[in-house]
Amino acid sequence: MSDKLLKVDIHKKLKEFDLDVDFELKKGCLGILGPSGCGKSMTLKSIAGIVDPDRGIISLDMGGKTTYFDSDNKINLKPQKRNVGYLFQNYALFPNMTVEENVAIGLGKNHDGTVVSEMIKRFHLEGLEKRYPRQLSGGQQQRVALARILAYGPDVLLLDEPFSAMDALLKEQLRIELVNLLKYFDGMSVLVTHDRDEAFQFCDELIILDQGKIIAKGKTYDLFENPKKVQIAKLTGCKNISKIEMIDDYHLKALKWGIELEVSEKLSSNITHIGIRAHDFAPAKKEELNSFSAVNSKKLEMPFEWEITLENGLWWKVEKQIRDHEFEIPEYLKVDPKNIILLEE
């Protein structure tokens, strides 16, 4: 297999902030995770050529190098010439064309229809060929959109918040479908999302973007296991974060919760916060390490989880069975020192 490389290094002045993004992707799926309005979609649209950055370079190497954009050399390839597939949030199917016509649109005049029928089959759209997009369900629309993109044969797949406008049930189903469908695609893909579950599910590597700046990049597992920074911990879904005061090398006081804790890693002066994931607490006895009182806690029942809010503000989540409706909150809880995430501001 030849070496592939997608290189992006772009800068653009926006109303609220400046966008500065640079990354390289060799294979698989890269996720751009960030709150809404952080410049994620703008990055994706710049790669596709829908939006022009002010300066920078975007290039793709697939054995031969194609420069999409290069402000120094005044290169700005039209979207038509970039050979990228863009999955829009609302799929952007042409409402005036049937499923068949939508899938065939990227093929130009000289196609014999075999690609279309192959895609229709691969994406389980048989029988829907003559339907118009409005007559399809959300899931079917997504499949048509992907069939249309893959029929075009792009080098890079760009996915723009593919599940943002859906109800929870449909979202679950489509995520599984999309994971399976993406197996047919051996190129690189970039997924933009504000949802940590999606990022975790689809992406081998992650970029975390805030206010147009990259605040972290790395392997998805690493970023989730060891977020290092407060913002990253929040974005990866860490519910409990507190400012700390250092007592000694291995002991600290969590100011928000008013408890003292022991940690497994040596503290340094740049550690200002700690994070504890809501699942990482366990019932304890008073004299055990890192235990604290859990009296006067409130509980909230979810189908498969108890959500406990402690008096000091900590969140605790406990898995449960659907039929269990009783839960006795223990008097004391503890947290394993190795589950305390040390964070920098």
């Binding site: 649209k45 596709a48 050529g49 829908i50 039209k78 979207p79 038509q80 970039r82 050979n83 990228v84 597939g85 863009y86 829009f88 949030q89 609302n90 952007a92 042409f94 409402p95 005036n96 064309m97 649109i105 990227g106 130009g108 118009y132 997009p133 409005r134 007559q135 249309r148 993109i149 075009y152």
Partner: protein, 224 residues
């Protein structure tokens, strides 16, 4: 005996003027939505919309000023083609085009702006040429709005009176269109003759509106 010439003249004028208005309105609307500078957009939109808000006689005044024998375009035609535009049949077409243009342009622009911009971007990333995107995506999806704009413009051109009177006059058999004929007959006290022309104009206008609604509803149903 009924004089049929106003009917023929009106049909000829309305048909040619809608042909011109339709395409020019479409292109101008497309050009305008591509402009990014807001001030330019507002100024141009104002100029293109003006004919519909000004009194028709005022528009006629300007047209006479431009196309009259001493006007910049009028004198050009007199000098190079020895042709007087004012008070000739083409003058009825010019008046109808100018007066019906804002309806076409505004409808087309509104219809284009209703089309999801993602569709245009999707077309581009799928390698469609700008020409194909315009016809197959923008035009096709804006079609119901464009058709209704076209028919409104046609009806407006058919009913044009004030600017036509100023620029083309009321010459029987040459520039006397249906609305002119109605006016002339009434002025001469021939209410019966006027009534015939009124009936014709009402029927044509109603058929036009009927076609518009029919086509629009059919198209929208098809995609649902």
């Amino acid at each position: 005996m009924v004089d049929w010439s106003p009917i023929f003249i009106s049909m000829k004028t309305a048909s040619l003027s809608i042909f011109i208005t339709f395409f020019v309105g479409l292109i101008v609307a497309w050009g305008l939505i591509k402009i990014k500078n807001d001030t330019t957009k507002i100024v141009l939109d104002g100029i293109f919309t003006l004919p519909i808000v000004l009194p028709p006689t005022v528009v006629g005044f300007f047209l006479l000023y431009i196309f009259g024998v001493r006007g910049p375009i009028g004198s050009f035609f007199v000098e190079f083609f020895a042709y007087k535009i004012a008070f000739s049949w083409p003058a009825t077409v010019i008046a109808a085009v100018v007066m019906s243009f804002p309806l076409m342009y505004r409808s087309a622009r509104g219809a284009f702006e209703q089309v999801d911009t993602n569709l245009v971007d999707a077309g581009r990333t799928l390698g469609m040429s700008e020409w194909n995107i315009f016809w197959k995506v923008l035009f096709a999806n804006a079609l119901p709005g464009i058709i209704s704009g076209g028919i409104l413009a046609f009806a407006r051109g058919l009913g044009e009176f004030g600017a036509t009177a100023m620029l083309a006059g009321n010459i029987a058999g040459q520039t006397r269109t249906l609305p002119m004929a109605v006016y002339s007959e009434v002025a001469a006290g021939n209410m019966g003759e006027a009534f015939n022309y009124v009936i014709v104009i009402v029927i044509i206008s109603f058929i036009a509106i009927f076609i518009m609604d029919y086509v629009t509803i059919r198209k929208e149903k098809q995609w649902r």
